[in-house]
């Protein structure tokens, strides 16, 4: 494979040329230019790595701006611009930087760039979703020498290395800092005039150490990246990478079939057999996104659960039935997860027992998935005082997760079968989430992808007691609350030893799931499709990265 991949060595004359190139180049990277064209499902809203903490932005960022720490497709934390890091005490982290790294403009990467980056993140104007939360806990950032960075935090932060995988490093010089930068909480010195987010469309300002450098950016049309010739790691496989946003699924698949794209993300599940039949390669990988149904368990004074009716004749009349653990267990047992995965998801999903799939940190191997048992479900309902069931409305978005509304329809039918008459309330994501966040549903379907790839993120967001003050349990809009789960999780988040932390998280997860705090349905499996001759390594974080595209024979 030496000639361009688009024109493989098919004809005789080409084969001769190919053979010649193979002999003279003597390596996997031949003389001929090799381009990669990617069709993306969503476009990054800016090239600025610190503008918008959003999947497409973070994926694009990794090509151009590397972090000190990175994650591989399985979300294992790996060294990137930092060679090693140690927790000196509960409040101090020391990062040793990789020597001899240069930015794509040729200037060397040093500790000053790290300090500049941490200083610049809170200064981004009008960020719709800021990265400042990652640097806010920093009390001080110092550089004892040009290749060492020491970060002090007020609170113990065992997950700091994982957290900073989200932060891409800028070049202080290309961003206009005149000299050394000193970190100070509330305002650094020596920053010069930091570039605005829109300035990053300019390749002279968008300078990072990544395997690719920005060549051209036309919003809505394409981002073109060129190989960074000074990259410190293994040479990137492609000379240029062109990413085009093709938001609708049908046209995206058509672009692949018509030969306009070499790789597309997220083809529709129902198209996968067709894509494979046409001679393309499909790669599927388990994601960190769980699809679940949250159940309203709030018991505050004056609160009436909004979308449950028909409980007037029950044993304790007009009480929220979901407060009874047996009812929640019944609703979970009523769902045939195998049928949902096979029929609704076309086999492209995996039934879930806890909030993250094994082997991510804090998960248990073979965590039991609640088995389908409609009879037991009916018995449980009767025991709880609802032999005739009740009526409930299930809220769901209809354009956010893979087949979200269809999953909710299937669940509604299964619940109705055990006597819980279920109606659906499906809405577009932009209105659904506002209603969800104002507690308008007694039961709602949603998804959660743990960005950090470990259990504390999932527990913290979905199951810790809802507390707007501390921000804990913020997506726990069913308002499940178990103080022991809170205690274990918070302890885990303060534990530096990884094994100990994972053990605490496993205990917290098992304890919570035994309560049926929400109904886990399945983990999404993310598909990618490529032309023959390319292979994509599926990523748990669902990012599409040119670095994970391998050229195969």
């Amino acid at each position: 494979m030496i000639e361009t991949r688009r024109r493989p060595c098919r004809t005789l004359s080409r084969a001769v040329l190919c053979g010649w190139a193979l002999a003279s180049a003597g390596g996997p990277l031949g003389a001929a230019a090799r381009d990669l064209r990617i069709g993306l499902a969503a476009e990054a809203t800016s090239i600025d790595p610190h503008f918008h903490n959003l999947g497409p932005n973070n994926a694009l960022r990794r090509h151009i701006f590397e972090g000190l720490v990175t994650t591989d497709p399985a979300m294992t934390v790996l060294p990137a611009l930092a060679l090693a890091w140690t927790a000196d005490d509960a409040h101090t982290w020391t990062f040793r930087l990789r020597p001899n790294v240069t930015f794509s403009d040729g200037t060397p990467f040093t500790a000053n760039d790290v300090i500049y980056t941490f200083c610049r993140i809170p200064l981004v104007e009008n960020s719709p979703s800021s990265f400042a939360t990652f640097v806010r806990p920093f009390e001080s950032v110092t550089a004892p020498d040009p290749l060492t960075v020491v970060i002090r935090t007020a609170e113990p932060l065992p997950l700091l290395p994982t957290n900073i995988t989200a932060l891409g490093m800028l070049s202080a010089k290309a961003s206009g800092a005149p000299g050394p930068v000193t970190f100070a909480k509330g305002g650094c010195a020596g920053m010069g005039t930091p570039p605005k987010s829109t300035d990053f469309g300019n390749p002279k300002i968008a300078v990072g150490t990544g395997p690719y450098a920005l060549k051209e950016y036309v919003r809505g049309t394409q981002v073109v990246l060129a190989r960074n010739p000074t990259y410190w790691g293994a040479a990137p496989a492609f000379d240029t990478v062109t990413m085009k946003p093709i938001v609708s699924t049908g046209p995206r698949v058509a672009a692949l079939l018509a030969g306009d794209a070499d790789l597309i993300e997220n083809p529709a599940i129902q198209d996968l057999p067709r894509i494979e039949a046409a001679g393309f390669t499909v790669a599927k990988g388990l994601s960190n996104r769980i699809i679940y149904i949250h159940l309203d368990q709030f018991d505050g004074p004056g609160w009436k659960t909004p979308t449950i009716r028909g409980t007037d004749k029950a044993a304790p009349p007009d009480k929220n039935p979901l407060l009874d653990r047996r009812v929640r267990e019944a609703l979970s047992k009523a769902i045939d997860r195998k049928a949902v995965v096979e029929r609704v998801m076309g086999g492209v999903a995996q039934g879930a027992g806890e909030l993250l799939p094994f082997p991510l940190a804090g998960t248990t191997k073979d965590f039991p998935v609640v088995a389908y048992d409609p009879k037991a479900a009916k018995d449980l309902l009767a025991q709880a005082g609802y032999p005739n069931g009740f009526e409930i409305t299930l809220g769901t978005p209809n354009d956010r997760y893979i087949n979200d509304e269809k999953i909710a329809q299937a669940v509604a039918q299964m619940w109705s079968r055990i006597g819980v008459k279920t109606s659906l309330d499906a809405a577009t994501a932009s209105t659904f989430f506002t209603r969800r966040n104002t507690f308008s549903f007694s039961a709602y379907l949603a998804g959660w992808g743990a960005d950090s790839g470990e259990m504390s993120n999932s527990l913290n967001s979905l199951l810790l007691c809802f507390d707007p003050e501390s921000g804990r349990g913020f997506t726990n809009r069913g308002r499940y609350c178990n103080r022991e789960v809170d205690r274990l999780t918070i302890e885990a988040m303060r534990t530096f030893d990884e094994n100990e932390r994972s053990a605490l998280l496993r205990r917290a997860s098992a304890l919570a799931m035994a309560d049926y705090p929400l109904i886990p349905l399945h983990f999404e499996v993310t598909p990618w499709a490529t032309v023959k001759g390319l292979r994509y390594t599926p990523r748990i974080d669902q990012y599409t990265l040119a670095m994970d595209v391998a050229v195969v024979k």
Binding site: S46, S127, S130, V218, A255, A258, T434, G471
Partner: protein, 324 residues
């Protein structure tokens, strides 16, 4: 003439103001943009900070008042998603849509008018019937389906044209255009045909009906009796008379092609303003939605005005006055 223009301008202002109010309040009522913008695991503090930055923490009247005051000074606000002036976000995308709509318009008229004339002159001939049947197909099949079929046949199966996107562009007087590059033209063919098909059918039918009617008129008989050549009768006398309805319809359709080419732009991943509108609605990017619709209103008012002016040029009986 001047009074007429002033009156039209006044009408436009009222429409724009009403539109802005409706859209602003409407989008405000749909949902909270912070829910779409903030990271799902953002803490309440972070969400409050975003709200304060974007001015979403203030009451609706205050937000609207600020918006109206700024709009009067030509500032339609900054996009929540891109942190750029909403108007410039739209204007960056406008050339792509204009290129597509104008090409489609030229196609529709250049192909539709002769075909319609022919079908009108020879209504019972085989070719005339074929043209009419084709036109029925073109405007009764749904636009998105036509688009998908075009992609399937000409991009996926035959591989003649790319399946979507805008090709290479060059900068001419500050405007990015794909009309001057081969790659750009190749990308333009399928979406332009898709957008033109419906209008083409309409033009054919209008031209045919007009031609059939005109051929029976006294002036045509008179011209024939005078011994004028058939080419001159059709090319000058008939054509000029059937153009009036065609111009009206084309004028209105041009507006809708520019403002609502959403379907074609979606099917062909064409980076125009229609797609921007859909994306902005999904993300609740209110400044862009409001600016877009205000721009659309202005566009329609302008096109209607131009149509009226062309009327006057084509038909000497039409006078532009306050009473019009």
């Amino acid at each position: 003439m001047l009074t007429y223009l002033i009156q039209r301008f006044g009408q436009a202002l009222v429409t724009v103001a009403a539109m802005a109010t409706l859209v602003f309040v409407g989008v405000y009522a749909i949902a909270d943009p912070i829910d779409m913008l903030a990271a799902p695991d953002a803490t309440p503090d972070e969400r409050a900070a975003i709200g304060a930055q974007l001015g979403l923490d203030r009451s609706l009247p205050v937000q609207f008042g600020t918006f109206a005051w700024r709009a009067l000074h030509g500032d339609l606000g900054r996009s929540f998603v891109y942190n750029e002036p909403a108007l410039s976000v739209i204007l960056q995308r406008l050339p792509a849509t204009l290129e597509l709509a104008l090409t489609a318009l030229v196609l529709a008229v250049a192909v539709g008018l002769p075909l319609g004339l022919w079908a009108g002159l020879k209504p019972s001939s085989g070719s005339g019937r074929t043209i009419m049947t084709g036109s029925i197909l073109a405007f009764s099949l749904p636009n998105f389906w036509q688009g998908l079929m075009l992609v399937l046949v000409f991009a996926v199966t035959l591989g003649w044209f790319p399946a979507g996107g805008r090709g290479e562009t060059v900068n001419v007087l500050g405007i990015e255009t794909g009309l001057l590059t081969l790659d750009g033209l190749r990308h333009l063919v399928l979406p332009a045909v898709n957008l033109a098909l419906f209008k083409l059918a309409v033009v054919i039918r209008l031209a045919r009906a007009g031609t059939r009617e005109a051929m029976l008129q006294d002036y045509v008989r008179f011209a024939r009796a005078k011994g004028l050549s058939p080419a001159r009768i059709v090319g000058v006398h008939v054509l000029k008379n059937i153009l009036l309805p065609v111009v009206t319809v084309i004028g209105l359709e041009l507006g809708s092609m520019i403002a609502f080419a959403v379907v074609t732009e979606t099917v062909f991943a064409w980076p125009g303003i229609g797609k921007l509108l859909i994306d902005s609605i999904n993300r609740l990017d209110r400044p862009v939605i409001v600016a877009y619709l205000m721009l659309t209103v202005c566009l329609f008012v302008a096109i209607n005005l131009i149509v009226d002016l062309i009327y006057a040029a084509l038909d000497p009986r039409v006078r532009l006055s306050e009473a019009a």
